[in-house]
């Protein structure tokens, strides 16, 4: 038996060694020379170019290690010299480029050869490819100044080639490698220093549009690499704006933009007059002109760039919105101007008569400039463009410009409001968002508000919600405006009852922003009467709640308002304050002792005390290294309780508190498990009792996964601790299994796996090991050699003692930590009417949920449906179902398809959200999931997913199909 065991152990041992990396690399290295040799043989064998090409293609599919690259390159070059067929040479050239990119290989040894073969090459295609190779080499050796200069020289020499491809590559090379220090150390380099910019600039007038584009791109590349472009480039680029080819124009627009950012303040003359303007203004005018270009690609490009030209003078900026209207040579006012006038004259538009817009003033024919008006009306055109891409770009540009200039924001308002009626939803949405972003700078006029509010009836939910967000932060100028907004919102509420929450929230902000405007409206809104008591409104009416939300929020900063409330209003206030506390603020009501807000003054104090409290309680816990178990347990329990309570009270600290509480709970569980008496009891007896220990191990595991993946802002130092805790849980599990299972065979596997994990832990967190002084792992690693050779029983014994002795690790708190959470808004789970559908067919269930602090929800958030028969189904929502209304917040609006065989009576299914963590995303952290830990963590949740929302019950009833 012993001999047998020894043999087994030995086998295990060798197995482990074999998987180590060194052996593997050694193996690969052995094959390497044979690979290049094989290539050599293949190429020699190849009878015709087609064969050779095939071999090369096959060769290219396999990766080559850094050490053998040089050999392969030599062989390739050798064949290159012999090869007569250009296509094979082309392939070799491209392979050279690929190989020189191999990490860890320094290509300076092949540069001579490459330049050499370049000189003798006749085929243009091969030449171009070779230059590409040189570019790859050059970018790799970016530090080597001599090689750079040499390559630039080579490029310059081939610039005169007749083929556009070669010229293209040369320019690319110049753009990427043209030395940057030239402008600084001009005289040191002397003759060899070429003025790269001038050379590239010369090719702006090449006959081939592709070369022209490449030249501009090269220039842009130079700029990106930090070379300051000369101002002369500007004039050259301006000429290219009228090029015949769209790609040239598009690149030229970019170049002009770059130059305008470099020299915004320099002065350029206006042709055909003696005036001079700032360069940035001139460039702005030119780019504006490109907004009405013939090609939409250029239009998009131009519209996008306009947004980032912030230094432009306001005079020019305002022109972009001004399109001089005329009719029969007479100046006409725009509809916007008319609307404004109507508004300021205090009369409402009463239906237009024909000729109302009849032009008045005569226009001086000489002064009207129809086309070369620079910036004139650029945005008017952009916003009316045929392609929605252009329109979106224009809206974005407007947004950026308006954010930097309040005056402009005021002006562009009319146009943005107009965009609310665009035919494409995306554009409408974009313009609403834009409006929200600039809303700090603007106050809506009543007529504008009217148009804005008209969109509330839109059937698209996104639009409506975006609009609610917009209204949250809009400034309204008059009390009529507020009233109008309220009326429209209530109309919206009746039409689309699902918007309830969003509308309430909107009214909350609307109220708190405009208390003085709401004040005069209160009697009307509450329909109170000075003499008569009016009927008490229905408390459950969403519309009435909406009105109350508006009023209460306004009353917060307006102490005179509560005087206008009637009795039932106060009662309703108390009710709402409790039921919708996030919408209704605490009010200082006269004669009342702040019933519902009793909590707030007590916990309202500043952050510091509670922060301190948190720190102190944690300190206390960590300070007890070796307390007597009983006391330690109690302290832990108390602290956990405190932390949880703190988290509930202080929302800012909730993340930290929960995080630490979870950690402490793990520790508590571990201590409890180790306190069990079972360890000394004989095996048969504790089969039942061991449940507690193994359950504890399981729970610790779960909690550690939660800690790792459910909190955003977890840093590496926390991850180490979490993994350490998990390792302890695994050790516990191993021990429990060892004691409960009979026979040694299964233990071998488990032991081995455990040791592997320890090894893995060591490799992943080697840098963090020092801070784990005196911990479980620390001790474990010390004993590692011994463990490797020990029998399982011995291993278990060692582990057990170590677990008991190991110290309690201090968990450093991260700066910012937030717990991911989700709330399912819909289905609400209140319905008593089952959702009926024919069995075998599907029914679509609308799911609407808000997610907080979830990173990358598109990949991680899943919907789970649990059927009463225990069957679970995981649904992956489409990426498009996620919206991002604010930082750290996401919204999931999706449809879940349910289906089941026929039931006899309706039953509830559970819907909940899961947070999936993928082992591939964080490779070093969770290889255990794939390792197949077995049943422990895969019970209710699907492998690698944590439920993070409260389940919602949906009543469904699959009917049997009618025959």
């Amino acid at each position: 038996m012993a001999a047998h065991l020894k043999k087994r152990v030995y086998e295990e041992f060798t197995k482990v060694v074999q998987q180590q990396e060194e052996v593997a690399t050694k193996k690969l290295r052995l094959t390497k020379p044979s690979k290049s040799a094989a290539l050599h043989v293949d190429l020699c064998k190849a009878a015709c170019p087609a064969d050779a090409l095939q071999y090369l293609l096959q060769f290219a599919r396999k990766p080559v290690e850094a050490e053998s690259v040089e050999g392969v390159v030599r062989i390739l070059l050798e064949h290159y010299y012999k090869e007569t067929d250009p296509s094979v040479r082309l392939k070799i050239a491209s392979l050279l480029g690929l190989l020189s990119k191999t990490a860890g290989f320094s290509p300076d040894c092949i540069i001579d050869d490459a330049i050499n073969i370049l000189q003798n090459e006749k085929s243009h295609q091969v030449l171009a490819q070779l230059l590409d190779t040189l570019l790859a080499i050059g970018t790799k050796l970016a530090e080597n100044q001599a090689i750079q200069t040499r390559l630039v020289d080579v490029a310059c020499k081939h610039l005169t080639d007749t083929s556009h491809g070669v010229r293209n590559k040369c320019l690319q090379l110049l753009g990427n490698l043209g030395s940057l220090e030239k402008s600084v150390t001009k005289d040191t380099e002397g003759l060899t220093a070429r003025d790269v910019q001038k050379i590239i600039g010369d090719y702006f007038s090449d006959q081939d549009p592709r070369v022209r584009t490449a030249a501009i791109k090269a220039m842009l590349q130079l700029h990106e690499r930090g070379l300051k472009l000369h101002q002369t480039v500007y004039n050259q680029a301006c000429k290219l704006l009228s090029d015949d080819y769209e790609q040239v124009r598009s690149a030229a627009v970019q170049l002009i933009w770059v130059v305008s950012q470099l020299y915004p303040e320099s002065i350029v003359p206006i042709p055909s007059s003696n005036e001079e303007i700032r360069l940035v203004d001139d460039a702005f005018g030119k780019i504006c002109h490109m907004v009405s270009d013939g090609s939409w690609v250029v239009r998009v490009q131009a519209a996008k760039l306009l947004g980032s030209m912030e230094q432009v003078s306001s005079h020019f900026l305002e022109q972009t919105l001004d399109k001089k209207l005329m009719s029969d040579l007479r100046r006409k006012r725009t509809a916007h101007e008319r609307a404004k006038e109507l508004y300021s004259s205090g009369e409402f538009s009463s239906g237009r008569k024909w000729g109302d817009d009849a032009p008045k003033e005569e226009v001086d024919t000489g002064a009207v400039n129809l086309i070369e008006s620079g910036a004139c009306g650029a945005f008017v055109h952009g916003l009316e463009d045929e392609m929605y891409e252009v329109r979106i770009a224009a809206v974005e540009a407007l947004c950026m410009l308006a954010q930097s200039s309040p005056a402009f924001a005021e002006k562009c308002l009319d146009f943005l409001v107009d965009m609310f009626n665009d035919e494409i939803e995306e554009v409408r949405l974009q313009s609403i968002h834009t409006m929200r972003k600039i809303s700090n700078n603007i106050t809506l006029r009543e007529d504008q508000l009217d148009t804005v509010l008209a969109v509330l009836e839109d059937s698209s939910r996104d639009i409506r919600e975006a609009l609610h967000e917009l209204l949250c932060c809009t400034n309204v100028s008059t009390k009529e405006g507020i009233h109008l907004a309220l009326v429209e919102l209530l109309k919206n509420l009746t039409k689309y009852p699902t918007d309830r929450d969003s509308i309430w929230k909107c009214l909350k902000f609307l109220g708190s922003r405009h208390p003085t405007l709401v004040l005069p409206l209160v009697p009307e809104l509450l329909s109170t009467h000075p003499f008569f008591d009016t009927a008490e409104p229905d408390m459950d009416d969403p519309a009435y709640i909406a009105v109350l939300v508006l009023i209460f929020n306004a009353a917060k900063t307006c102490p005179t308002m509560p005087a206008l409330f009637s009795d039932h209003t106060f009662r309703h206030y108390a009710y709402l304050r409790d039921s919708l506390s996030h919408l209704v603020p605490a009010l200082r009501l006269p004669g009342r002792k702040l019933v519902s807000s009793a909590l707030s003054p007590n916990i309202a104090p500043h952050e510091d005390p509670s922060q301190q409290f948190l720190q102190q309680s944690l300190e206390r816990v960590y300070s007890l290294q070796h307390l007597d178990p009983q006391g330690a347990q109690e302290l832990l329990e108390f602290t956990i309780r405190d932390l949880q309570r703190l988290g509930e009270l202080q929302s800012e600290l909730a993340g930290v508190a929960d995080f630490s509480a979870t950690y402490l709970r793990c520790q508590l569980l571990l201590i409890k498990a180790l306190q069990e008496k079972l360890w000394n009891v004989a095996a048969p007896l504790y089969l039942k009792q061991s449940d507690l220990a193994s359950a504890a191990a399981k729970q610790i595991m779960e909690e550690t996964y939660k800690m790792e993946f459910m909190y955003s802002g977890v840093e590496n130092k926390q991850v180490v601790i979490i993994h350490h805790m998990r390792l302890q849980a695994k050790a516990l599990q191993l021990i429990v299994t060892a004691r409960t299972t009979r026979g040694v065979d299964p233990l071998f596997g488990m032991c081995e796996k455990f040791l592997q994990e320890v090894d893995f832990f060591q490799r992943c967190f080697i840098a963090d090991l020092p801070q784990l002084q005196d911990s479980f792992v620390d001790k474990l690693l010390d004993l590692m050699p011994r463990l490797m050779t020990s029998k399982p029983a011995e291993v278990v014994k060692i582990l057990q003692t170590m677990l008991r002795q190991s110290a309690f690790l201090h968990l450093p708190l991260p700066e910012q930590i937030h717990k991911a959470s989700a709330t399912i808004i819909e289905p609400a789970g209140e319905s008593d009417n089952p959702l009926r559908f024919t069995s075998g067919l599907v029914v679509a269930l609308d799911v609407d949920a808000t997610l907080e602090h979830v990173q990358d929800p598109q990949n991680t958030v899943k919907v789970q449906v649990l059927y009463p028969d225990g069957q679970a189904q995981m649904i992956h929502p489409k990426p498009a179902d996620f919206r991002n209304p604010g930082p750290g917040r996401h919204r999931l609006i999706t449809q879940v398809y349910l289906s089941h065989t026929a039931w006899t009576e309706p039953c509830q299914v559970e819907v909940r959200l899961l947070l999936a963590y993928s082992s591939t995303a964080r490779i070093p952290k969770s290889p255990w999931i794939e390792g197949g830990e077995g049943p422990p963590q895969v019970d209710t949740s699907i492998e690698g997913a944590i439920p993070f929302s409260k389940p919602v019950k949906v009543y469904i009833m699959p009917k049997p199909a009618r025959r």
């Binding site: 007749t162 006959q207 005329m326 024909w354 070369e372 035919e423 008209a454 009836e457 839109d458």
Partner: protein
């Protein structure tokens, strides 16, 4: 023949490089006599039109651009090809038939074209696709560009050799709800013939207009009123339908919209078919749903007009002068909750014009007086390019000259000045019957033999882009083709013997030294000045520069003067004359 400083009856004859093309063949709406059709006797007095015209091009289906077509092809007689786009080909006969019906059945005109004639005429039509280059014959080719305006409207480029004309027809540079914007590439035509309906107008943003329109309709409907929109069957009607349809869709409105039946239904059918001719939005979404398959818009029945409750009705004709729209108007005029929206221009004398000018009491036939209580709104939904749009198109096409048609003379004058001033191209605006002759400078392609080209390449540096190069060769003009070949080949081809032409020149230099010495000095001088050339000193005392021979001899009379004999062949003329000039300046005084 038409549309010169005038709107209506578009018909233009273009002669380009010997080819004759007729652009559009429209009728004039203002006349009911012979003047309504173009006078085709302008084209040719004797002989058949088919022999004279190479082709006819119709830009779009509006009657002022195609109304005279059956008359022209069947009654006057033309059998050549007629080009138009597919949608135009489909919708054109419907409109012609309608026009014929009104003229013959209602007005009782005799001597009008018949239905059969329309059918025969349409048989001569060749349909073209957008951007398809159609070879009419060996030299004449035409190509269609998108023009917006109405479904199937196109601009045509007519090209013979290097000369070309672009005819815009009617076009619209601002996209609308169902059509895109006109677009033309930078084809640099010799002449651009552009419409100029709105030569002096720059329009407001279309969005205000649309928003206004929708708001008006929405408000009226919410009040429970009825909205009447008198429209013409095609073009704007579809635009407004789309506008309302999408609005209804967005706002989830349930109020019925009706469309008067007849012509429009047929036309809508074609709108559904020719999706590729519409704008981006419709093109992209038609897979899910064809925008012209209206969900909210239903066919109108006469009985519906008396239905209670709100509704929106599109009815023809557009100026409220007769027909269904007038009937409905009479029924609804008395209620102030209702509204009528006039989306277009109304001719003087029509009911539409009267109510627009503010008249509240209308006298109808039979001495009835109709009091108009309903609201009257006017909105301009025009699909013509405004002044800025025209300028934009001119900028896009970069023509050598511009010709304005289809507009009023006074307004065109303004635009003409602007075009000349800003693009620096000549601009014309001929009246009807006036001919404008444009000189063009055609480029003549010349074939060059490869041998010559290669030889030149080998001699000089590589060709530099856009730089002129001097080249020796012989131009052979034979069978109206031009070829440039090397002189040897030309001689061989023409069977001529080669003559050597040699120039000699004497240069007198004051020098007392011997001839040999002299030659040596000349040699060293030339050697130093002519770096790039091969200068040799021959044993017999003469100097050669390439193939030029220089000999020094003593002057027969004056020994103090030496004569340099310079001799070169005709081919070396350039170098030879340079050398003589150089030598005449004298040799540098070398100190020795």
């Amino acid at each position: 023949m038409g549309a010169g400083q005038d709107v209506g009856r578009s018909c233009i004859l273009v002669s380009i490089a010997g080819k004759n093309v007729m652009l559009d063949c429209g009728m004039h709406m203002g006349f009911n006599d012979d003047r309504r059709f173009p006078d085709f006797s302008y084209i040719t007095q004797n002989g058949r039109l088919t022999d004279f015209l190479d082709c006819v091009i119709i830009s779009h289906f509006h009657l002022d651009h195609c109304g005279a077509l059956p008359y022209f092809s069947e009654m006057v007689g033309y059998d050549g090809p007629i080009y138009m786009t597919h949608p135009t080909q489909a919708i054109c006969p419907i409109l012609l038939e309608d026009y014929r019906k009104i003229a013959v059945d209602k007005k009782g005109e005799a001597n009008f074209f018949t239905s059969q004639m329309i059918k025969d005429c349409m048989k001569k039509v060749v349909a073209v696709h957008l951007h398809q280059t159609v070879q009419v014959d060996d030299e004449l080719e035409i190509k269609a560009y998108y023009a917006g305006h109405v479904l199937g409207a196109a601009m045509f480029q007519i090209k013979v050799g290097s000369e070309s004309v672009v005819y815009t027809g009617d076009y619209n540079m601002t996209p609308d709800r169902h059509l895109g914007a006109a677009w033309v590439d930078k084809c640099r035509p010799s002449l651009l013939i552009s419409e100029s309906t709105y030569a002096t107008t720059i329009r407001d943003s279309k969005r205000c207009r649309e928003r206004d329109f929708l708001k008006k309709v929405h408000e009226t409907v919410e009040r429970g009123g009825k909205v009447l929109i008198p429209v013409f069957a095609l073009g704007r009607a579809q635009e407004l339908c789309i506008l309302l349809e999408t609005f209804w869709e967005r706002m989830n409105l349930k109020v019925p919209i009706y469309f008067s039946t007849g012509l429009t239904e047929k036309a809508n059918h074609y709108y559904k078919l020719f999706i590729t001719w519409t704008n981006q939005k419709i093109r992209k979404t038609f897979v899910q749903r064809n925008m012209f398959e209206f969900k909210h818009i239903k066919a109108f029945d006469r009985a519906f007009a008396d239905n209670p409750g709100p509704m929106v009705v599109f009815a023809t004709p557009g100026m409220l002068h007769a027909g269904q729209s007038l009937q409905i108007f009479r029924k609804w005029a008395g209620n102030e909750k209702n509204m009528v929206i006039m989306p277009g221009y109304c001719v003087q004398g029509t009911v539409g014009h009267k109510i627009l000018s503010g008249q509240r009491k209308l006298e109808m036939e039979g001495r009835q007086v109709l009091e108009v209580k309903m609201q009257v709104e006017y909105m301009s939904f025009s699909a013509h390019a405004d002044a800025k749009g025209i300028m934009q198109l001119v900028g896009q096409a970069e023509p050598d000259s511009v010709l304005l048609v289809h507009g009023e003379a006074k307004k065109m004058e303004f635009l003409r000045q602007k075009i000349e001033q800003e693009f620096r191209v000549s601009c014309y605006m001929p009246a009807n019957g006036e001919t404008v002759t444009l000189p063009t400078s055609p480029s003549i392609p010349v074939g060059i033999s490869l041998g010559l080209l290669k030889r030149e390449m080998a001699q000089g540096l590589l060709p530099e882009a856009k730089k002129l190069r001097l080249l020796h060769g012989t131009l052979i003009m034979k069978d109206s083709s031009f070829r440039l070949v090397s002189s040897e080949q030309a001689l061989k081809e023409l069977g001529l013997a080669e003559h050597q032409l040699r120039f000699t020149c004497r240069v007198h230099l004051q020098d007392t030294r011997k001839e040999q010495e002299m030659a040596l000095r000349v040699y060293s001088h030339l050697k130093s000045t002519l770096q790039g050339h091969c200068v040799q000193h021959l044993p017999d005392g003469s100097v050669t520069v390439e193939s030029i021979l220089i000999q020094a001899a003593a002057h027969s009379e004056d020994p103090g003067t030496k004569v340099l004999l310079v001799s070169w062949t005709y081919q070396d003329e350039e170098l030879g004359s340079f050398l003589t000039a150089l030598l005449k300046k004298g040799l540098p005084q070398t100190p020795s």
